[in-house]
Each structure stands twice: as structure tokens, then as C-alpha cells.
Amino acid sequence: MSVKEYRTAAEARGGLLIMRATPGVAFGDRVQIEDHSGTRRNGQVIRSSDEEVLVLVFEGTDDLDLEDTWVRFLDEPVEIALSPELLGRVFNGLGAPRDDRPPILSNIRRAVAGSAINPAARTYPREFIQTGVSTIDGLNSLVRGQKLPIFSGSGLPHNRLAAQIVRQAKLKDEDSSFSIVFAAMGVSYADAKFFQDEFASSGVLRNVVMFINLADDPPVERLTLPRTALTAAEYLAYDLDRHVLVVMTDMTYYAEALREVATAKGDVPARKGYPGYLYSDLAEIYERCGRIHERHGSITMMPVVSMPSDDITHPIPDLTGYITEGQIVLSRELHNQGVYPPVHISPSLSRLMKDGIGKDDTREDHPRVAAQLYALYARALETRNLASIIGADELSERDRRYLKFADAFDERFVGQGEAEDRSIEATLNLAWELMSMFPRDTLTRMSETDLAKHYQGSD
């Protein structure tokens, strides 16, 4: 089959172009569209029959007319060119340069759709990454090959936290840094600029590939952007043996673009108007991260998901949480109290933590410290609620201790400087300092050996 070209389209609406009587077009193939002014747009076949072909136009269908539009079916999948030259560059969602430099020339071209990693070829991620952030390293540890999203809300400092992690992330006792793939979907110019400046000022720019679609760029392009970015990440990880950290912001705008197109296509909506395949679609993106047998490189992923109205049960954070290996949840309450980073530890979780910490990886007592801190903090929050009803004066001495602990924990353990890079030892020592506010017998999750070694309390 070869390239086919048609002059007329039958319908254009909501980012979709409908072609009639264009038989034999392959599902998923790339399409080039030239409008009346001669400007080229890109598209993809999302349904194909002999009678009707649906083309998703990444740049949108605004300003198209039906008579004077050339449509070329290119007989190839949507793909990008890959070479080591990617690093240090800025592209759009289709892999076209956004930085006034020439396109990447390479004979390595790969379809952005990707395919599923064979579970039998995967390796379980177990190498601890030190981010220098206590709430993550101590309580929700990140490991190489994990996907750990930041659940946030509008106005919360998720970008600053993501940037801090990018700056500080390293393997314990190893100096090799990460290559970074930065995927921005529907973010504001200011947010994109913030990251660019961050990368520039921390001197990692030459190690970063950026794929950017701003809030005023065509939304349909957001659908292919994370796939393009991950194809580049896979190339860096598995062809060039690099450890790649993928930062994707903001997955909510991605999902909204998906809903927009689904609605235009007439798909049956499931929850809140999102199509029934939102879960599978998100999984196709998130599951491209991981570790593979006998490959040196790895892909670690940190997507940012802003929760509409801070609602963690909204379909986007909800489905994301079912796919990712945990989540770091930011809290507006802590933020308003001036705590940075405002990580709310109770709903935060890292599922892959258990095998990346402990004696050989971080420190012997780490798993129990995490469990104990969680238990103490949960109890302390209950006490705080109680105090807000009956007043702190009415509390028993035991309860007042919990209250004091909660405040110290928020201020000293959760709170830290934006430039403060705490080692895991520092984090654990700080934890012991706080736990030692309690009598020895309260720390039931700790072993006798831990207590003998680290307990600093008076009894």
C-alpha cells in the first residue's frame, strides 16, 4: 500500500475529520492534512472502514473547510526520530522542534504507540532513590523503575516539589544522575518556564528532553505527547543505557483532552463524562515505566495529577492510583499553615518501598520506623480532632503528648527547605528524635534492638 491523497473531507468537528469513500486505510496510521492556506497539520486514523475514516487532527479542526483540504494517508504509524541529539532539546507533542533548531535526523524511527512489556521480561524494582525529601525517603520511598505520582490541587507547590526531586534524586552511594524526560501537557507558559529555568540553573539542561504542549496549544496534541515522550524515554533507557526520570505534568489536562475527543466521537461516557477506556488509556502510558532483565537503563516516572476540587475520588486521580505504585498527596491544609513540602502522609503511599529499604538498602530500622511514625501520626491526628472539639486543656497528659508530636512532626519532619537535601540517615535520625518524645513502651512497632540502639527518650 502506498501514500493516498484525497481532496475533500465529509465532516469536520471537535478535532475530528471524517473522510468518506477512502477505502483500505490502516487503523492508527499517520495522516497529513494541508488546509486552504497551505499550512500542514498532522493526524491519526482512529476508525477505519471502507465507507468512513475518522481522522484525529492533532492541531484541531479550527479554520478547516471541507472543499479545500488535502488529506494524505501516509501509510506509516505515528512515529518519532530518535538519536542522542534529543538531549537538551525541546519538542512538541509530535516530536517537532519547538526550539528553533533543526529536526532530529536519524534512521531510528519508532512508533509512539509502543507495545506492552512482557511481564516475564520485567525485573522487580528494588533500588532505593534518595530524593532528599524526608516524607518521601523515610515514609514513601521511591525506587528505580517505579511510577509514583504527585496528587495535588490548583495553587499547591507540586511543581516546586517535582523540581526539587529532579534536582536531588540520586541512588544512595552513587553519583550517577538521571536523564530527564519532561512532558508538559496543557500547562501554563509560566509553569513550563519555571521548569526550564530550574533545569538551566541546576545545570542539568543538557541531560533533559522536553516535550511541551502549553495551555493555549491544540488540546488534541496532548493525546500523543506522553506517548512521544515515553518513546524517547525508552530509547534513552534501553538503547543508551541511561536511568531516566520522566516528569509528566499535568495528567488531568491529558485526561480532559481525551474526554473532549471521546465526546466528539460519540463514545459512551462512564464516570463524569470520561470514556470507559480511560483506565486502559492511562495504563498504556503509566505502564511503560519499569525495569527490564539484562537492560542497564530504567524508567522511573513521576506524573503530576491535579485533583479537580481537591477530590481524590475524581476519576483521574482515582484511576491513576489504581495503576501507579502509590502516590504522594499534597495537602492544602498543610500548605496554608506554611509547611513546605505540604505532603500529607496519611493518604500517601509507596507500594514498592518494602523491597527497596532496610538493612542492605537504607538502614535496618527503616521499615519499622516508617510503620511506627504512621501509627503515631494517625493517633496524633485523631487527638488533634478531639482537641478541636473539647479543647486541648481537657486532654489527658498522654493525649497532649500526641498533640505536641503532631506539631513537631509537621514542622520538622514534613517541613524542610526547598534547597534542603536530607540524607536518609538524617531523615531516620530525625524520626527517632521525634519518636523519643514518647515513652519506650508506646513504640510497639519497634524491636528491642532498635530501641536499644536509637531511642533517645528519658525512660
Binding site: D267, E287, H314
Partner: protein
């Protein structure tokens, strides 16, 4: 390609849903789509056209390409060599696929589930004589499939007649003929070590039986509080992060079933790898052999094609029934049935079917019920009694248990282990909520516990739950007006409930000692915690201040007891109990003396 195969033409491609022109094709028939040869299944017919759901991505497929009807429905291969294997949602062996296509799964691969080149040591059934009448379930012979599991080679369903030939003891490949049977109509059946069975059709059995013995999982909150029977059906619903996967994996590791089938349905790749990497290292607590020798995995990660996800539950269930038919107790874990239901929704959405609740099709409830009903304890056709226990994880959106999949599941199952976000947030694991969970099997399980462990089990269990219920009530009061409003007795109740929670209910899957707890140890811990509560209540009644009891070091020791002593060290728990009794007795005596003194 069989002699039945017919060739048609592709008309329309809409994601995984492909419309083909192929008159005469049957509903449910397998189809090979396009030049890539993607596998699919007919799900609807309309005039000349058939609608096919494909198990692989349809990128690059065009209208006009051929579609071949294969003449049979989606089927699995059943024979020796399944155990220890890792299959995808349509029973393709993932390890062999990795050898053929590398780290990523290439499309259109056609790899049989069972290894054709491997030979098996067949031992014919000595009691069978030539000329005997045989039927479905007749044991033709045995094959040592693994060190622990003897594979019984049975006459497959649908075959009966006179045994004309049976192979002598020896090594045979799967395709070798091991028996010939002449049917009543004179037709001859050639039987091999394996046969095929359509996954959507339940395998037949002689009759259904009631469950009689509990499935021991080594998890206290399950075995002691919400027991499951062998052959029962249960659900583990919970929001993300509540620990569903760990609960399922603990059951897979520690339950006293003969065979465990773990279906990872639309789950995380990294978590499946955890299972793939750790299970081969683990020892079976009952036989001391490797756990993988009795385990079989079906892995369909969330990014694998959605239609194969829908099929994976049936594929797993059919293999479970196959081992049940040999007389084994099988546990099948499906993680998660919500992903399976969403796959149904996705396909029905693509077909433009009218959605009812939250986009789910109207047939959701009946399909769910039909899957769960395949679980049960049965009289098999030839090998005695066997069972399939089905435990499905449910992932309700937003943790809302009133959503369609959870609520329909709740109507069908008998054991409900509800995971709670609040408990998980406080790192109380397993986060099975004792208020909303239930088990319909307590009475049956009690007979087993009375016979095997202690006659007091049912009473003690009831007392513990009652104490926990009072704790929930009192906690509400404390939250409203503060702890000062409570009487000493009530405060001791809170302490007793806390002891039950920490010393009995909480159990760490990561703790080497506590990860498995024998029924005897379970009862010893429960009895110890309740004993402390009872003795303390008596002292508090005498006027001993609650604070004095709360500060006792033996209470802290009781909380740690579960991970200090293994299931083999019951005498240590008895010693601790004696110490506690002594200590309480001392307090009582001292208090009585003080009382006399004051007089």
C-alpha cells in the same frame, strides 16, 4: 487452521472492535484478523457481518484484509505442564513468548500453552482393564506433574465407551496417544495427555456439595473472624492503597489449598513481577517444596489489550475447574474483578450498547454471578470430591462500596473482606474492617475449629467482636465529649479492644514470623488478649485504677507476642499467659491487702 476454517473480509476497525464479512460464522468463534493474524472472538452477528473483539492492538490493520474463522470458541489447553507456568490472558506462555519476541510482546504470535517437546512419565491406572466401560472422569493414569502434585489423566467430558487400548507405563509427549475409546455409536476417540476446553463453558461435574472445612490462610482476621470455606466465594473490596494485593498474595502463599491460580487481571506490571520473582523462592508451608510447584499465574497487566483482560478470568477459572476435576482443592484469586468488569464496559461502549449504571452494560450483574457460580465444592465425575474457591478483589472507584461492581458482587458472594482506607492510613494491616466485613460460614467453620483447635472458638470470636463493637461506640463518645466522660470499666474496654487490634488483628505480611499464623497460634493469641481483658475487667471492678493496668510491661509484650513466637512455639505463648495471670493475681492480692488495711 482446521478443516472448518473459512475466509472473510475486514470491513471496519474501531479500536479492538473489528467488523468482518463472514457468513456462516458462529457467535463465540475464534477469528484470525488481518495479515498480522491477530486473534479475536466473535461477540455479535448481524446479517452477513460479524463483530469481533480482538485480543491484540489493531494498529495497522486495514479494511479489505482477510479474516479467518477458526471453527472453535476460545479454548484452553488442559494437560500436564500448566503448574509453575505464567500465561497471558488467552493462555499464551509468557516465558516462551519472551524467548521469541524479546522484552515486548509482538502481535500475532501463536504459541501453544503446553510444551509439545516435553515428555511426561505416564503410569496407567492398574485397575483399568481393556474392554471396560469408561466415561468422563475415569482415571486413565497418572503423571507426576511436579514433586507435590500428581496429575490425574482423566477421560475428558463428552467421551465415553469401551476402552480399547491404553498405553503402558513410559515417557510420552503430549500429542502421543495414551488411550483409545470406542463410543456407543462405534466412533473411536483417540485420547492424549491433554485436551482443549472452551473457557466460557463450565466444566461438568456429578453433583454439588456443601463446603465443610475452612480454607486456612494463616491470616488471623480472615481465619478467626471472617472464615472462608473451601469451595466458597469471597470478595476483597477496597480503595487503592488499602492493601488488596497483599491480602490476595498472602492467601496465595499461605492457604492450605492444593493448587493456587492467581489471575492478575489488569493489574500493575511491577506487582506481577513481584509475584513472578518471589513465588519461585518461597517454600510451600505445608509440603516444604517450592510454592510454584502448586501455583499457576495468569498475567494480564493493565496495559495489555483490554479484551484479553476480559478473557483472563475465564481462562483462569477453566484451569481451576480442570484441577478440581482431579479431586484437588483449588483457590483462584482474581485481582481485580473491577478491571474485568471495566473491560466488559469498554467493549459494550464500543458496540454502542445502552449503558445502565455508570456506563456498565445491563448484563454486568448476570455475568458477574455466572463467574462466581463456577466456584464450589463438587462431586467430580471420577476422582471424588474437589473444590474451587474464588476470591475476587474489587477496586471500587473512590472507595465507594455502593458502586455497581461492588454492590452486585456483594449480592453473590458469601465472604466479604472489606478493606478500609482509614485503617490502611493508620498502617493497620491487613486493613480488613471488622464492622463491615462478613462471613456466612462462621457456623460451619466453628465445627472444624471445635474439632481441631478449641471448643471455645466460636464463643471467644463472638466476645472479641462484641468488644470491638463496644469500642466503636465508645470511640464515638470520646470523639464528641472526650475520654473523661467514660467510666473506668469503659476505659478498660477501650484498652481491651486496642489489645485485640494490635495483638490479634494486625498482622504484618513483611514480618518473617508473623506472616503466617497457624490456627492454634491464632486461638492462643485471641484467648490471651481476651483473657487479659477479662482479668483486668475484674480488677477494675474491684477499684484498681485503669492507668495501673495500662502501664503493665506484660501488655506491651502481649502486643509483640505475635512476632516474637512462631506457630511452633505455642508453649512460649502459654508461658506468657501464665506470667500475665500471675501478675494480675499479684495485683489482685495486693489490692485486696490494701483494702483490708484501709478497713
Amino acid at each position: 487452521m482446521s478443516e472448518h476454517s473459512r475466509i472473510g473480509v475486514i470491513r471496519d476497525i474501531n479500536g479492538p472492535i473489528v467488523t468482518i464479512d463472514l457468513p456462516g460464522i458462529r457467535n463465540g468463534e475464534q477469528v484470525k484478523i488481518g495479515e498480522l493474524g491477530l486473534f479475536g472472538e466473535v461477540i455479535a452477528l448481524s446479517g452477513q457481518q460479524a463483530i469481533v473483539q480482538t485480543y491484540e492492538s489493531t494498529d495497522g490493520v486495514r479494511p479489505g484484509e482477510p479474516a479467518i474463522g477458526l471453527g472453535w470458541p476460545l479454548s484452553v489447553e488442559l494437560g500436564p505442564g500448566l503448574l509453575g507456568g505464567i500465561f497471558d490472558g488467552v493462555q499464551r506462555p509468557l516465558e516462551k513468548i519472551a524467548l521469541q519476541s524479546g522484552d515486548y510482546i509482538r502481535r500475532g504470535l501463536d504459541v501453544p500453552a503446553l510444551d509439545r517437546a516435553r515428555t511426561w512419565e505416564f503410569e496407567p491406572n492398574a485397575e483399568l482393564e481393556l474392554g471396560a466401560q469408561v466415561g468422563p472422569g475415569t482415571v486413565l493414569g497418572t503423571v507426576p506433574e511436579t514433586q507435590t502434585i500428581t496429575h490425574r489423566v482423566l477421560v475428558p467430558p463428552g467421551v465415553s465407551g469401551e476402552l480399547q487400548e491404553i498405553a503402558p507405563a513410559g515417557d510420552y509427549e503430549l500429542e502421543a496417544t495414551i488411550a483409545r475409546v470406542r463410543g456407543a455409536a462405534g466412533q473411536s476417540h483417540r485420547l492424549k495427555l491433554y485436551h482443549r476446553w472452551p473457557v466460557r463453558k463450565p466444566r461438568p461435574y456429578a453433583k454439588r456439595d456443601d463446603g465443610i472445612s475452612p480454607l486456612i490462610t494463616g491470616q488471623r482476621v480472615i481465619d478467626t473472624f471472617f472464615p472462608q470455606l473451601k469451595g466458597g466465594k469471597g470478595a476483597v473490596p477496597g480503595p487503592f492503597g488499602a492493601g488488596k494485593t497483599v491480602v490476595q498474595q498472602q492467601i496465595a502463599r499461605w492457604s492450605n489449598a492444593d493448587i493456587v491460580i492467581y489471575v492478575g487481571c489488569g493489574e500493575r506490571g511491577n506487582e506481577l513481577v513481584d509475584v513472578l520473582e518471589t513465588f519461585p523462592q518461597l517454600d510451600d508451608p505445608y509440603t516444604g517444596r517450592k510454592l510454584m510447584e502448586r501455583t499457576l499465574l495468569v498475567a494480564n497487566t493493565s496495559n495489555m489489550p483490554v479484551v484479553a483482560r476480559e478473557a483472563s478470568v475465564y481462562v483462569g477459572m477453566t484451569m481451576a475447574e480442570y484441577y478440581r476435576d482431579m479431586g484437588y482443592d483449588v483457590v483462584m484469586l482474581a485481582d481485580s474483578t473491577s478491571r474485568w468488569a471495566e473491560a466488559l464496559r469498554e467493549v459494550s461502549g464500543r458496540l454502542g450498547q445502552m449503558p445502565v449504571e455508570e456506563g456498565y452494560p445491563a448484563y454486568l450483574a448476570s455475568r458477574l454471578a455466572a463467574v462466581y457460580e463456577r466456584a464450589g465444592r463438587v462431586q467430580t465425575h471420577g476422582a471424588g470430591s474437589g473444590s474451587v474457591t474464588l476470591i475476587g478483589a474489587v477496586s471500587p472507584p473512590g472507595g465507594d462500596f455502593s458502586e455497581p461492581v461492588t454492590s452486585h458482587t456483594k449480592d453473590i458472594i458469601e465472604t466479604f473482606w472489606a478493606l478500609s482506607k482509614e485503617l490502611a492510613d493508620a498502617r493497620h494491616y491487613p486493613s480488613i474492617d471488622w464492622v463491615t466485613s462478613f462471613s456466612a460460614h462462621v457456623h460451619t467453620a466453628a465445627q472444624w475449629w471445635a474439632a481441631e483447635v478449641d471448643r471455645g472458638w466460636e464463643r471467644r470470636r463472638g466476645e472479641a467482636l462484641a468488644l470491638l463493637a463496644r469500642d466503636a461506640e465508645l470511640s464515638r463518645i470520646v470523639n464528641l465529649v472526650g475520654p473523661e466522660a467514660l467510666s473506668s470499666a469503659q476505659r478498660w474496654e477501650l484498652e481491651g479492644a486496642a489489645l485485640i487490634k494490635e495483638a490479634v488483628l494486625q498482622q504484618s505480611a513483611l514480618d518473617e514470623v508473623d506472616t503466617f499464623c497457624s490456627p492454634q497460634k491464632q486461638f492462643a493469641l485471641l484467648d490471651l488478649a481476651l483473657g487479659i481483658y477479662d482479668m483486668g475487667a475484674a480488677l477494675v471492678g474491684m477499684g484498681v485504677p485503669v492507668q495501673e493496668l495500662q502501664g503493665l510491661p506484660l501488655l506491651a509484650k502481649t502486643r509483640r507476642c505475635k512476632s516474637m513466637y512462631s506457630s511452633e512455639q505455642l508453649e512460649k505463648i502459654a508461658e506468657l499467659r501464665a506470667d500475665v495471670e500471675q501478675e494480675f493475681e499479684n495485683i489482685r492480692l495486693e489490692y485486696a491487702r490494701q483494702g483490708e488495711h484501709a478497713q
